[in-house]
Amino acid sequence: MSEAYFPVGPGLGLEENFLSLDDILMSQEKLPGRAESTLPRLAFALGQGAGTGDSIPEGSNLEIPLWLAKGLHDSKRRIISVELPKIYKEAWRTVFSADANVVDLHKMGPYYYGFGSQLLNFVNPENPEIAQTILQTFISRFRRIMDSSQNAYNEDTSALVARLDELERALFRAGQKGLNDFQCWEKGQASQITASSLVQNYGKRKFTDMDG
């Protein structure tokens, strides 16, 4: 987008930004959980059960999106109890501590860091370790991201970007933008007034409007 459009960015740490589109997409990711008590008439909404009158029996396993888990988790945990998705569990944690650069974070759920931060909201004895793991992963991957974003100019970067999750991709794009701007300035194009990308996009879309 052009320089005048500043979208609301994702939140940092335990809180999400209410109006951030990135955060909304991130909280759509599913978590495994278990129903603590019988939930009447919810079966149709959560995808199990035939009609609208069924109830979910106690102890059955459910996959619920994060926003629902956060909402139903409060007050003494009578409704839902939440388990960690497998990527935050012990086995994967050792993989991350061994070598974090190898993991394809995009395939594992494209919001590893954001989702992990939100998981810390739920009471869980493993929280400090999860936090440590997330931090360590980020530190070890960061150097490679920074390197590749600053040195890949005018190349096809899809191979590099494919294994990064959303936060890392944002960092990568910021690095690339800085690189491009600097190159522009070196070439003397900084003083050239250009049509904004908004205008160019609207130009293309206008034709489809008039045809359709």
Partner: protein
């Protein structure tokens, strides 16, 4: 706009359901919580969408200038048009109060200028264009002109002219 109306209809229906359930039995408390969560979620999505639209409209003012082309205005709702006009007015008042007597046009010179006059080439047919000292220039496709900077800046940003570096 249609999506908005749809969402509003869904929201109202949900709300009706909730109030009906609440007035009934209290053992359905889980269901009520669940519905409440869904409502909050819908509300959040709607708000984020509307807010994002506002941010883009604001960006349009800085890119396009005071007048929006008709195709864009067609896609905005009445409230958005009003918001845009009010933003335009606040921006104009602010610009007037900032520099000197006539004020400072902040939307000019976004990149630091190197000279007063610039060379431009026309990308589209635009018609006649009048400069300060009264001469008119006919802008046809691919014609080149040497024009004062502040006049052309608007047109370059809109994509009608193209700035050429020597």
């Amino acid at each position: 706009r249609q999506a908005l109306e749809e969402m509003r209809a869904l929201y109202e229906r949900n709300q009706a359901d909730v109030s009906e359930a609440k007035s009934g039995r209290t053992e359905l408390i889980f269901l009520i919580r669940f519905r409440h969560c869904c409502l909050l979620r819908n509300q959040r999505c709607i708000l984020a969408y509307l807010y994002d639209r506002l941010l883009r409209i604001r960006a349009l003012r800085w890119e396009y200038g005071s007048v929006l082309p008709n195709t864009i205005q067609f896609h905005m709702s009445a409230e958005e048009v009003e918001w845009f006009n009010r933003y335009k007015k606040s921006l104009a008042t602010y610009m007037r109060s900032v520099g000197g007597e006539e004020g400072l046009d902040l939307t000019q010179d976004i990149k630091p200028p190197k000279s007063l006059y610039i060379e431009v080439r026309c990308l589209r047919d635009y018609g006649e264009f009048e400069i300060d000292d009264g001469t008119t220039v006919l802008l046809k496709k691919n014609s080149q002109h040497f024009l004062p900077r502040w006049k052309c800046e608007q047109l370059i940003r809109q994509g009608v002219l193209e700035h050429i570096l020597s």
